[in-house]
């Protein structure tokens, strides 16, 4: 357990009197898909926010690839290889799709700081090519010159996923990637996620939709009232009575 790829150890977080996270331990092995499920308000998003520098946990450590993550700023965390897809799509609405996807690629190259003002976008063949290819993979190539702000919510989410993937992150954090999507869009997204699963990228997924979780995850942790109450493979979780009690309400036949 010591050398896990991504490790959350003894993380506590309180907001005023409310205990949001209660001594959470989680370790994610390289190349696996780890799902975190739990009822509303269980602390799933808080946990992710602690991993990407949005929130600072009261106690505990988060390490990634042997490096400490706590106290690093959002951009530094991205630069060590952790990308995040948000629950509400965070894109650049005023820019065209192609630019939306090119920006993260530039960020990876010169995010720290570089004024390459004399170079034109027209000279960025490699990045342009990759951006077009990734938009094609996501079925967004047709619209690539349109403004991102005019797209449907499902398309925006897929665009955001594309923006994360062009950076080839070592770890991808997905916050409810299919929330608010129509079934058709959900299936498309699952297909895409399955495809990138094969590439061996490590992923942590927060999800409500059990269909998504059970078709993607290698391992599942169940969070309830800020604490991990169960952990295991999808089959183990389905059969776990504690989980059924807390989350599935004991009604679902596994």
């Amino acid at each position: 357990m010591e050398n896990s790829f991504f490790q959350i150890q003894g993380v506590n977080k309180t907001f005023g009197g409310l205990i949001a996270l209660d001594n959470v331990n989680l370790s994610v092995e390289q190349g696996t898909v780890h799902a975190i499920i739990g009822p509303n308000g269980a602390g799933k998003s808080t946990l992710l926010n602690c991993c990407i520098g949005k929130l600072k946990p009261d106690t505990g450590t988060v390490t990634f690839d042997g490096r400490n993550v706590i106290g690093k700023t959002a951009y530094e965390i991205n630069q060590i290889g952790i990308a995040r897809v948000f629950q509400t799509p965070e894109i650049f609405p005023e820019l065209s799709l192609i630019k939306n996807v090119m920006i993260p690629a530039f960020a990876k190259r010169d995010g720290q700081f570089k004024i390459n003002w004399f170079k034109s976008l027209i000279d960025e063949d490699a990045i342009y090519e990759e951006a077009v290819k990734i938009l094609d993979d996501f079925g967004l190539k047709e619209q690539m010159r349109h403004h991102a702000g005019n797209m449907s919510r499902g398309d925006k989410r897929r665009l955001e996923l594309a923006m994360s993937l062009i950076q080839h992150p070592k770890l991808l954090l997905l916050d409810e990637p299919t929330a608010g999507m129509a079934r058709h869009d959900t299936n498309k997204t699952i297909e895409t996620l399955k495809k990138i699963k094969k590439s061996g990228m490590t992923k942590i997924i927060i999800e409500h939709d059990m269909h998504v979780v059970f078709s993607l995850a290698d391992k599942i942790s169940v969070l309830a009232q800020g604490a991990i109450i169960a952990e295991g493979t999808p089959d183990e979780i389905k059969g776990n009575p504690v989980v059924q009690e807390a989350y599935l309400g004991g009604t679902e036949d596994a």
Partner: protein, 370 residues
């Protein structure tokens, strides 16, 4: 596969530059019919054009609304006049130093102001600008000569000039290696710098750097989570626009070698905001258009007095002439700002994207029909 210009919405740099240079250099000719083709006004077009282009790099691309850019204009002017007094009447050291000093000031003010965004950033820049203005008027009098303004005098050392020739009778004028910088020569000097300034701005607009500035405007949170350290990018934009303002300030001193604190007042900062918004924020040509319109109208309206109004309304019956003249008199001369205010309101209400948006609408109407 090489990037597609149309998809990326990029301008053709060399064609744009060719047309732009032609347009600027032939201004004395095509502004003749509307009576704007005299050197004083042309110089103003070019100088404030540079100011607005630079301001647009900050406000147009990053969306950070600075209310204090007149500070850098003022710093540029003072620096240039000091360069004329101490070093040489040659304009090159003057404008180079203007840009450097303005850039340095922009670094100091930007370092503090850019810690906040939105309205707080605007207020901080405004506070710094008013502070600089008041300092220039009071404690910095040894440097700025306070209310009188900084002027040339015959006793100035001008050490470089003295190395080569004796001081002449009377006040010397600004030169570019012997070429006097007044009248049309002054305009062409400013025009060349305007063209260079426009070229740099065009390159920035088309570059990955420009794209990252636009992305900061669009969604700064996403930028951080995408791995961009946004602060230095904003800082760079702030300093670049400060240096543009410094250059403009320096040129104001080149064409008329004196500098006063009123150049740093908040109204001057506000003016560049108006120009940029009127023409079209974030567009390449918009700010220049705004400059042209505001400076041209200012020139016309502020020269009108009640005498000209009486002549203009002479066709009306005597009984109402006085009434009409008294009313319209509010909008001309000293009151020309009222007209500017009305114009600004009309544009912002009907064309929030400025005049460039209006052109875009007209263009779309035609292309849709075709």
């Amino acid at each position: 596969m090489s990037p597609d210009k149309k998809i990326l919405r990029l301008n053709n740099i060399w064609l744009t530059m060719l047309l732009f240079s032609l347009g600027v250099l032939t201004m004395p000719w095509w502004l003749e019919p509307i009576g704007a083709a005299y050197p004083d006004l042309l110089q103003k077009f070019a100088i404030f054009g540079i100011f607005a282009i630079g301001y647009n790099i900050l406000f147009g691309l990053t969306g950070y609304l600075s209310f204090g850019h007149a500070t850098f204009l003022g710093v540029g002017s003072y620096t240039a006049v000091w360069s004329f007094k101490l070093l040489s009447m040659n304009v090159l050291p003057a404008i180079v130093l203007s840009m450097l000093f303005a850039g340095f000031f922009a670094f100091l003010i930007g370092y503090v102001s850019l810690r906040r965004s939105g309205i707080y950033f605007s207020i901080l820049t405004l506070a710094f600008a008013q502070m600089s203005y008041n300092l220039a008027y009071s404690v910095l009098t040894p440097i700025t000569n306070g209310e009188t303004g900084l002027q040339l005098s015959k006793q100035d050392p001008r050490i470089f000039d003295r190395l080569f020739f004796e001081a002449g009778e009377g006040l010397p004028s600004t030169t570019l290696f012997g070429l006097d910088m007044n009248g049309y020569q002054g305009f062409y000097f400013c025009a060349v710098l305007l063209i260079i300034a426009f070229f740099i701005s065009l390159k920035i607009f088309n570059s990955p750097f420009g794209l990252s500035l636009r992305a900061i405007k669009s969604n700064q949170t996403r930028m951080s989570y995408t791995g961009y350290h946004t602060r230095p990018y904003l800082m760079a934009a702030f300093i670049i626009s400060g240096m543009y303002a410094g250059l403009a300030g320096g040129l104001l001193a080149v064409t008329d070698p004196l500098a006063g604190a009123e150049r740093m007042q908040w109204t001057a900062s506000g003016e560049v905001v108006l120009m940029t918004i009127l023409g079209g924020v974030g567009t390449l040509l918009g700010p220049l258009l705004g400059v042209g319109i505001i400076k041209y109208l200012e020139n016309i309206f502020s020269s009108v007095n009640s005498q000209t109004l009486h002549e203009f309304f002479a066709f009306l019956p005597d009984s109402i002439v006085t009434l009409v003249v008294n009313f319209t008199g509010l909008f001309v001369g000293e009151g020309w700002h009222l007209t500017l205010g009305l114009l600004f309101m009309i544009i912002v209400i009907f064309l929030p994207g400025g005049l460039m948006q209006g052109f875009e609408k007209i263009k779309n109407r035609f292309t849709d029909k075709a």
